[in-house]
């Protein structure tokens, strides 16, 4: 009985408070709504204040990573690209192992890739290290080179496209559109390195 009376009292109190609330004037309701809007707007502003500096920092870091070689000069750029090329691709290990063969591949015109190696006896497809003919391995090497190049360029094209958009520098677009030229420039470095070490061509 006592519990029922207390429950009834609680229900009456709750009803009374709700009825009182419904009579709140419009001015007060408007002030409450304005206060709530200001509070929520503060939260949005705080998120923007955090995101904008972080985004700026991320863009600056990306530009520094990709443009630092450009700032240092063309030779250094090629060397830096070469380093990235070597580190990023297993195919470059083949270049290190047999630079003569890949120098021969690089001697072909930009937009055409050889379907078969040079005729026998022309001497270009011979290893300068031991004189052995590279004919047997040329097709396999070429196929491997093309496969690795294609895989490498697929990933590099996406990155170059992003850099083109981020920097508006057409040089990146050129490299993306002429990936073989990019590889050509990389391989040319080996050519100069070999000449400097007095390797026969």
């Amino acid at each position: 009985m006592k519990d029922n009376r207390e429950e009834d009292f609680i229900r009456f109190a709750r009803h009374t408070l709700e009825q009182d609330l419904q009579g709140m004037d419009a001015v007060t309701c408007s002030r409450l709504a304005r206060a709530r809007a200001q509070a929520v707007a503060t939260a949005t502003h705080r998120w923007q204040m955090r995101i904008v500096p972080m985004a700026s920092l991320a863009v600056a870091a990306a530009l520094l990573i990709f443009l630092w070689p450009v700032a240092q000069g063309p030779d250094t750029q090629q060397l830096a690209l070469e380093d990235i090329d070597i580190l990023a691709s297993d195919a470059d290990m083949d270049v290190l192992a047999d630079p003569d063969f890949y120098r021969w591949l690089a001697s072909y015109p930009t937009n055409s890739l050889p379907l078969r190696g040079p005729p026998m006896g022309q001497g270009k497809a011979r290893s300068a290290a031991n004189g052995e003919s590279l004919v047997k391995g040329r097709n396999a090497g070429l196929a491997h080179w093309r496969t690795s190049l294609r895989a490498e360029l697929n990933g590099r094209s996406a990155a170059l496209r992003s850099l083109e958009l981020a920097t508006a520098n057409p040089a990146f677009a050129r490299l993306a559109e002429h990936p073989v030229q990019y590889r050509w420039e990389t391989t040319n470095l080996w050519d100069r390195t070999l000449k400097n070490n007095n390797h026969a061509g």
């Binding site: 207390e6 109190a13 009579g23 007060t28 002030r31 709530r36 503060t42």
Partner: protein
Amino acid sequence: MNGFLAGVEKRALRMAEFATGNRDGALELVQDAMLGMVRRYASHHPGDWPPLFHRTLQNGIRDWHRREAVRRKWRHWFPEHNNTEQNNMDSVADPNTVDPSEHLARSQSGKVLLAALAALPLRQQQAFMLRVWEGLDVAQTAEAMACSQGSVKTHYSRAVHRLRKQMEGHWP
């Protein structure tokens, strides 16, 4: 978060009014509680928002009472010289203030209840409002009031007893 605040703002204002007896002060307290809620607890689970919001509000109410106590002491030692003017202003009704019992003119019991609620000690008032009006359970009320569950039960029990005693003659 916006939806939660929209649902709780009117009750929070009324609680703050009961606690402070001041509409403008209550509005400031509710706004501060909203700001604090958005800044500190927006990333919390929505189920945790009610006790967190009321804890923020109750902390603000407690700080308001502490500041008022200091102000009263200051006024006691350094009374203002324009007391007459202030007293005259006090007697003028503020057209923007709504008497909480105005809309319950037909319910004498309701008026008595609201007056009794306003007269409750602060902790009993908080416990009663949070349990009865906000629907928080004992654990959530304890979190909002920053006290133990046993204290919540004690404050709540005393509030109910006191209100029912003051409602004698108005409530069967």
